[in-house]
């Protein structure tokens, strides 16, 4: 009696009562499908977070000045002097003015205006669609020039070419010199796509903006990030004469923290899904016990013509494993389907289907069949032939 015969025999038995078999499998199907789907969602989230940070680069440090920043101000020239240190690749101080009224022709809309320097483009990994970015001379001469994000340009100009046109930003005229390519959403949802970028000095003078609030700093490589981190903190604590009033965010640490938070949640959900798999196993055990008592006479007949204990044991154990394994397979297919379907319903939640987890979930369901099939199979194998034959 080879394993293949056992399996094909088990198949015939369980397909004789398809509805019961399907209901028996349901727990395992739902369990495996949820594990597969939840893992896909978890991995999708992790990949999404990683991608967001990747778009900025993990060599990035962000310095934020807290409060109104009046007590202590960061000095642009001082910051740019720091750039000469080997642990700093480039530094882009920024001042931001939210809700600025930007007008072109008869179209008027509010956008975020970012005042910064020429380093900003490479630091934020943005690309030009046409024209040029801010250059050092713009800062020096406080030129009234602007670079538009792709979304801004589309709102104001539609498909027309904005280069060389004049826009009105809070009553001041700026010449559009550059247009950025679309970049997609950044960390925290803020995006250069919906911004207007102007020279830092120009912004400060024209809009009477106070101090530098956010400074982007890039280290030459990710190994240099800790050095850059400690240098900038040293500078800031000297400048602020305190360790408070500012925060330095390391992109990699931020990313890891967010990934960890996301996977903690996912792991908790997967644990719950695993419990449902176990409950499914108990369902299988229950039905197998019913099956054994229903088929007492069959067991008696088989024993009378020479079935040994292990023959009966193998027969019923195989049935339990085939039920749970088939349930696992159906659950796997359902889970893969749900993983691909999920982003269609919920576009902000990407999923990443992973076959390795699918394999584990399937193997786990087979294991569930073995564990929960063992007791009923043992009960069946220990029936005395004479008692089993007496049952009608």
């Amino acid at each position: 009696m080879n394993p293949w015969e056992l399996v094909s025999m088990a198949f015939r038995t369980i397909t004789a009562k398809p509805m019961r078999t399907l209901l028996t499998m349901l727990g395992v199907i739902i369990g495996v499908a949820s594990v597969v789907t939840l893992v896909a969602i978890g991995r999708g989230s992790t990949e999404q977070i990683e991608k967001q940070y990747e778009s900025l680069g993990t060599n990035l440090l962000v310095v934020n000045v807290l409060g109104n920043g009046r007590a202590t101000q960061l000095d642009y020239d001082e910051l740019m002097t720091l750039e000469q240190l080997p642990e700093f690749e480039s530094i882009a101080p920024t001042i931001t003015k939210g809700n600025s009224n930007v007008k072109y022709d008869r179209t008027s809309e509010t956008f975020t205006v970012i005042g910064t320097n020429d380093r900003y483009q490479t630091l934020m990994k943005t690309e030009l669609a046409s024209g040029r970015f801010i250059v050092p001379a713009d800062l020096e001469f406080r030129n009234p020039v602007a670079v538009l994000g792709s979304g801004t340009a589309e709102t104001l100009f539609g498909s027309a070419n904005p280069i060389g046109q004049t826009v009105n930003i809070d009553g001041v005229m700026f010449t559009v010199v550059g247009l950025l390519k679309e970049k997609g959403s950044n960390v925290g949802g803020s995006s250069v796509d919906d911004a207007v970028i102007v020279p830092l000095e120009t912004a400060r003078r024209v809009f009477k903006l106070g101090s530098i609030r956010t400074t982007y700093i890039e280290a030459p490589s990710s190994d240099q990030v800790p050095v850059a981190d400690s240098t900038i903190k040293q500078y800031l604590s000297y400048k602020f004469k305190s360790t408070s009033g500012y925060i330095v965010m390391n992109q990699e640490e931020l990313m890891n923290a967010r990934v960890a938070a996301s996977s903690t949640l996912t792991n908790q959900m997967i644990s719950v899904a695993c419990i449902s798999l176990l409950v499914g196993g108990i369902g299988i055990m229950n039905i197998m016990l019913v099956t054994v008592s229903e088929r007492t006479r069959e067991i008696g007949i088989r024993k009378s013509i020479g079935a040994k204990r292990w023959h009966i044991m193998a027969q019923f154990l195989t049935e339990a494993v085939v039920i749970s394994g088939l349930g696992g397979l159906l659950g796997l297919l359902l889970g893969i389907g749900a993983s691909y379907g999920w982003p269609l319903i919920n576009p902000n939640q990407p999923t990443s289907v992973s076959l390795d987890i699918g394999m584990y979930a399937f193997l786990f369901s087979v294991l569930v069949g073995v564990v929960f099939g063992l007791y009923p199979a043992r009960q069946a194998s220990r029936l005395k032939p004479i008692d089993a034959l007496r049952v009608d």
Partner: protein, 240 residues
């Protein structure tokens, strides 16, 4: 001539304490190879218990039983299963075919448990069904067969492993008289071909097909005679 069955002082009791009921009260019986023995008795006489003992489906409380030279008292469950498989062919009143299996698969089943390879057991099962005139029904399920056909399949299954003993428990009990007569003819023919047959029945008329009739009543053998009414079998009758 060697004995297939050697029963010595078999006692079988059910229950315990004051409730204890003694069904077999000390039965000794030898059945020679090639014989055809009918065990007759009314219901409650203990003949079914005796049949279960001979069939190794139940074990006695006292006494010894050797089947085809194998002492059975100290065998484990698995060893008993093996002896049943190799030495015994059961023919039941209710046929006891597995309903989900085809005729062929039912006949193959004892060969499966005997560890015979797929190809060989298929050939043997087909040959066995052919010899019983069932070659056109081998893929039918039991519920697609008449009672007589089902019993033929059951007989083919019993013969598949070429057992030392055919053990038939009221084989005609669930059949009409004509089909029953056909099955009994078959039993006689099988015996003539050299099979040792033990037949359990309450019907003296059925018992008349056997060469030897053992009567049992209240757990004891009350009569044991060669069947004089069997004219042509005398030449083949085996003397004890």
């Amino acid at each position: 001539m060697s004995n297939i069955i050697e029963l010595r002082n078999i006692v079988k009791e059910y229950g315990s304490g004051d409730e204890k009921v003694r069904i077999l009260k000390g039965i000794s019986l030898d059945v020679a190879k090639g014989d055809f023995v009918a065990i007759v008795g009314p219901s409650g006489s203990g003949k079914s218990t005796l049949m279960n003992t001979i069939g190794l489906l139940d074990s006695p409380n006292e006494g010894t039983y050797a089947l085809d030279g194998v002492a059975t008292e100290k065998l484990s469950d698995n060893q008993l299963a093996e002896v049943r498989n190799r030495k015994l062919g059961f023919i039941f009143q209710q046929f006891n075919l597995l309903p989900r299996l085809s005729a062929l698969e039912n006949v193959e089943l004892p060969l499966v448990y005997a560890g015979v390879g797929k190809q060989e057991r298929r050939e043997r099962a087909v040959a066995m069904l052919q010899s019983l005139g069932m070659e056109h029904r081998i893929h039918h399920k039991p519920n697609q067969l008449s009672g007589g056909q089902q019993q033929r399949v059951a007989i083919a299954r019993a013969l598949a492993v070429q057992p030392a003993l055919l053990l038939a428990d009221e084989p005609t009990g669930a059949l009409d008289s004509r089909t029953g007569a056909e099955v009994m003819e078959l039993m006689v023919r099988l015996n003539e071909q050299g099979n040792t047959v033990v037949l359990i029945t309450h019907d003296n008329h059925i018992a008349d097909n056997a060469k030897r009739v053992v009567s049992i009543r209240d757990g004891l053998i009350v009569d044991d005679r060669r069947n004089a009414a069997l004219p042509e079998a005398s030449g083949k009758a085996v003397t004890l």
